[in-house]
Amino acid sequence: MNASIKAPKPIVRVPRDDLSPVRVEVASLSKSFGPQTVLADISLSVAPGEIFTIMGPSGSGKSVLLRHIAGLETPTRGTVTINGQDPQLPATRDRFALALVFQAGALFNSLTVYENLALYPLERRIHSKADIHQRVMRALHILSIEGAAHKLPAELSGGMKKRVAIARALVMEPQLILFDEPTSELDPIMSATIAEIIATLKEQIAITTIVVSHDRDLALTISDRVAILHQGRLRAVEKPAALRQSPDPVIQDFLNPKIDIRHPRFKQLEASHE
């Protein structure tokens, strides 16, 4: 059934007139939830066609930052723009297709996997039905989940859900794609496949990509630049090679954590708590 789908064809082809990838600007962005400041004065600029990775400890605000870029949150201060336009406006979304792969998948639980993927093109009337079918099956094939096409999300494993979420984003043929920990629930081979997909997207259609990830290999291999977010602030924005050489102990510890059973970290934390 899938012989015809195996593709040297591009994974994603943007059918819009405006094919160019987009530029993302974040300017002095701050976000507080009540008294808690989650993001403090973040400024960064992601160039068209760049793969930009955001790393940082759990709870440092990576997902919140990504939600701002996707236009799902209103900044407390500062601005986010996509090619100069506010991502919260529907008009902006009409111009640029933007896909966010949610950390928890956010699949439509009452739709099958197939319907999850087909919803966007059907709803936006981009292609013919047969065309949509082909695209959906190709995306499922690339992520090795064709077998699950007619299952409901509740019947999938965590990693399968994540792959469906990625496939759903690919079918959207976006100009800007945002991944929130795309490989966190996947085995090493699937993680490598995801990294290859991200790199291929850039090569073939120069899509702008922002990845949040704890996966050091993925971040340092495929990224053009890596940002380290620490306690809501940008600690560094560097090319991977430069980041490896960084003298900053926080970054070194984050990139190469050593398991030290003689002086475990949690003992230090315990001591400081007393």
């Binding site: 439509f108 919803l119 059907l122 709803e123």
Partner: protein, 250 residues
């Protein structure tokens, strides 16, 4: 004070939701199919219980009327009493209450869960407005469904009354006389007034269900709270609106 602002906010978002939903009508793909699906589902889940309840409401109305009328010897008026009460008041109110309990609660639970599990966020990033995909077909479906359910409720209620009239000894009005009384005294306008009420109630119940669902914030526990709130607010709205619509139509 907090309660008041929250209520006003809720009212405001309901209005905005309805406006956005109908504004998206020209651009809504597959709207007929979706409306039909929701209408079918709503009818399918509420019809059996509508039938049972309206039968007994009609019966009780006839029984009460019979008890009162036997002192006045005006038994021939039982038909119109049952007929008008069902058509103008109890039919639409009962159907709306059942809609709130069966369909409204389910809609709130579904939308609240979509909100809590970020499915609504996913729709927003896809630039598929939830108002268009989720709210509009449900509002349209309820507008189609309410008159049908209300007419069925009226007919079954009248029928229930007829059976009581014929078979309860101290009433003893035969069905022909009963239905003649309905035919002679019940105006088409009475039935239409009832259908207008039903449309307003149904629309309001569905709008409350959708608004409450989409306004849910927080974790899974909030889904349960949202459902309770949706049903309670719907019931209050039905009875309050009933007074004002009755007054306006009088």
């Amino acid at each position: 004070m907090n309660r008041l602002t929250e209520t006003l906010e809720g009212l405001g978002s309901a209005v905005i939701l309805a406006v956005r939903a109908f504004a998206s009508l020209p651009k809504a793909p597959r709207i007929l199919k979706r409306t039909a699906e929701h209408g079918y589902y709503g009818g399918y889940t509420t019809l059996p219980i509508v039938a049972i309840l309206s039968f007994f409401i009609g019966s009780v109305l006839a029984l009460q009327a019979g008890i009162t009328m036997k002192h006045f010897g005006a038994k021939q008026l039982i038909g119109i009493l049952v007929g008008a009460s069902m058509a103008r008041e109890l039919g639409p109110v009962m159907v709306a209450i059942l809609l709130a309990g069966r369909v409204g609660s389910a809609v709130t639970a579904e939308l609240a869960s979509m909100k809590v599990y970020q499915e609504i966020d996913a729709l927003v990033t896809m630039n598929i407005p939830p108002e268009r995909l989720l709210v509009l077909p449900r509002l349209l479906a309820v507008l189609l469904l309410m008159p049908v359910l209300t007419i069925i409720a009226n007919l079954i209620g009248w029928f229930g009354g007829a059976i009581v009239c014929a078979h309860v000894d101290f009433i003893g009005v035969d069905p022909t006389a009963y239905f003649q009384s309905i035919q002679r005294y019940l105006a088409v306008q009475d039935i239409l007034d009832g259908l207008i009420k039903a449309e307003v109630f149904g629309f309001v119940v569905m709008l409350i269900a959708c608004t409450t669902g989409l306004r849910t914030r927080g974790g899974p526990r909030e889904i349960g709270f949202a459902v309770t709130k949706s049903v309670v607010v719907s019931l209050i709205s039905i009875l309050v609106l009933d007074y004002f619509i009755t007054k306006a139509l009088a």
